[in-house]
């Protein structure tokens, strides 16, 4: 038996139900994974509320890390006892049977909690700053939600690329944290005027790229912060979906580019995935990117974890302990 967290309807954190279910034996190509830590992502809240479609009832959670307990027929590259990180729907659980392809073996110098807390976030950051918009040395960039789970990783990664980072955070307490992770200027929004500061820092030109996971609340300031032909990378909507708009707005703000990347499109082939995870492990193992696990919840307290995440109370990454 294992605990899983399921939803039977879309809604607030209260729709998250803790249930006991039986575990099947791993079939061909499958692996029985025992989770040691489970990751919490904003993505999970979008599935819960229905912003991202999912068939009901649904088991939530998309990443975890732990130990291989048993392998099914035909699985050759993993053995019982291997430490792995897992990217599978339904990861909010103690144990689960997953296709071997969803697992990546962890190097010795990357710890299990960090991998569970941050693997998909760090892979997202790799795609954002090295592929969606390859950030160059000395470029000034805007990063919204700079003290969030993705934000803190992005600050460190961008810093290592030589960028100058103007970040936004939601409260004064988060300013120091963002700065400690490499954010050069951390503004508390909406109190501080992002656009004015960006123009100050760039001699009125604007920045070449804005990384925006806040969505509706930040959209306007993101457009105004960009220089001519700049790129708005919209990769989330923590404050709600951006209102539908006319593409002509991109011309009015100076021939801008807009993109909405999804990680899956950047790791679609085994080669691309190996390249991305390889970069992430290297950044974590070298300490260039440190994972800040700001809070830990028992898996059964998942509703509280969602509540805190959505009210922007969490800092850095969060793990759930089975």
């Amino acid at each position: 038996m294992t605990i899983v967290i399921r939803i039977h309807e879309h809604g607030g954190p209260d729709v998250l139900q803790v249930q006991d279910v039986a575990l099947a034996d791993p079939g061909p190509g499958d692996v029985l994974l025992r989770n040691e830590a489970v990751g919490l992502n904003f993505f999970d809240t979008y599935q819960r509320t229905g912003i991202y479609p999912i068939d009901l009832p649904a088991a939530l959670g998309t990443e975890s890390a732990g130990v291989v307990e048993e392998v099914g027929p035909g699985v050759e590259d993993l053995s019982p006892g291997d430490r792995v990180v897992n990217a599978s729907q339904g990861s909010y659980c103690e144990a689960m049977v997953v296709p071997a392809a969803n697992l990546t073996r962890l190097p010795d110098d990357v710890n299990t909690s960090d991998a569970a807390a941050a693997m998909s976030k760090a892979m997202t950051v790799q795609a954002l700053v090295e592929s969606v918009y390859p950030v160059a040395q000395d470029e000034v960039v805007v990063l919204h939600a700079a003290a969030g789970g993705v934000g803190l990783i992005a600050c460190q990664w961008l810093k290592s690329l030589g960028a100058r980072i103007i970040g936004t955070v939601s409260s004064d307490e988060k300013v120091d944290l963002a700065r400690a992770n490499g954010c050069d200027i951390a503004l508390v929004v909406p109190r501080d005027d992002l656009v004015a500061r960006v123009m100050d820092e760039t001699d009125g030109a604007g920045v070449p790229v804005v990384f925006d996971s806040v969505g509706n609340d930040s959209f306007e300031s993101s457009l105004k912060s960009l220089r001519c032909r700049g790129t708005l990378v919209s990769f989330g909507q923590a404050s709600g979906l951006v209102e539908p708009f006319r593409p002509n707005i991109l011309a009015a703000h100076g021939s801008l580019y807009l993109t909405r990347p999804l990680l899956d499109d950047f790791v679609a082939t085994p080669e691309d995935k190996a390249k991305c995870t390889g970069r992430v492990f290297a950044m974590m193992a070298s300490g260039t990117v440190k994972i800040h696990i700001g809070q830990t919840y028992p898996l059964a307290d998942i509703a509280q974890a969602h509540r805190d995440l959505e009210s922007r109370k969490t800092i850095g990454s969060t793990i759930l302990l089975p």
Partner: protein
Amino acid sequence: MTKAIRIHAYGGPEAMSWEDVEVGEPGAGEVLVRHTAVGLNFIDVYMRSGQYPQPAFPAGIGLEGAGVVEAVGAGVDDVAAGDRVAYAGGPPGSYCESRLMPAAQLVTIPEGLDDNQAAAMMLKGMTAEYLLRRTYSVKSGDTILFHAAAGGVGLIACQWAKHLGATVIGTVGTGEKAELAAAHGCDHPIIVCEENFVAKVRDITDGAGVPVVYDSVGKATFNGSLDCLAPLGMMVLFGQSSGAVPTFEIATLGAKGSLFLTRPSLMAYNAKREALLASAAALFEVTAGGQVKIEINQTYALVDVVQAHTDLEARKTTGSTVLLP
């Protein structure tokens, strides 16, 4: 005094009238240009009809011209009286015999290029330049989709994309235009009212889709264009001949494969003088080398511009059109 076409209210072609206007002396940074040829562009129709608003009335029309410098104002070093110059963009009002222009927008016409050619190609040619070389940099081996491939920008873009080594898929309205596009380097012309362009593009690319779509049609093609793109592909919306694209949601770009969308303008791309000069130089190079031929398929006296607009809107023109003062 000089003669100019002006409008006093938005309207059909007949809203344009041929009037006496005062030009005045060139001020600091300005140049008095006497036109020898004026370019006709679809954007002129939008500015006449009000789809693109004018700052005030009476308003001039026209964004492209070529001619001779008659006088220069203080601080103008790049050009001198007697120089042959051409331009695209700037304050509307090229439909006239003479006018004042900011010197920063003028480029010198190279030897061997006649004024009609220059007037016909600056706006469409530099548009093709920034679209294919800068908005998305077309590489040898790319398969691209270019809508309205037999239009003014389209025929230039087909030739230029071909020169860059791309395979060009183009949409057109009629069989005649399909032949015209094909003659200019379009490998796969698609007649849109006879064939579903999305299915055709998927077919031609073995299901992969294209890395870039250039779309000046707008409302009628926008959603289909997104469906033609490969993951991480670039949607370049640079006009709206069928109407403005209605509101859309960012999530659409994610759902269709982490797409990029841009809505560029020539003005923004060539705002800096270095960018303008580089853009014009690239255009002059491919036209002088014969890789891109500018075909002036109709000329009208400038005073007959009402007829020229009527024909343009009825889609009776092909290639480029020049108005002669």
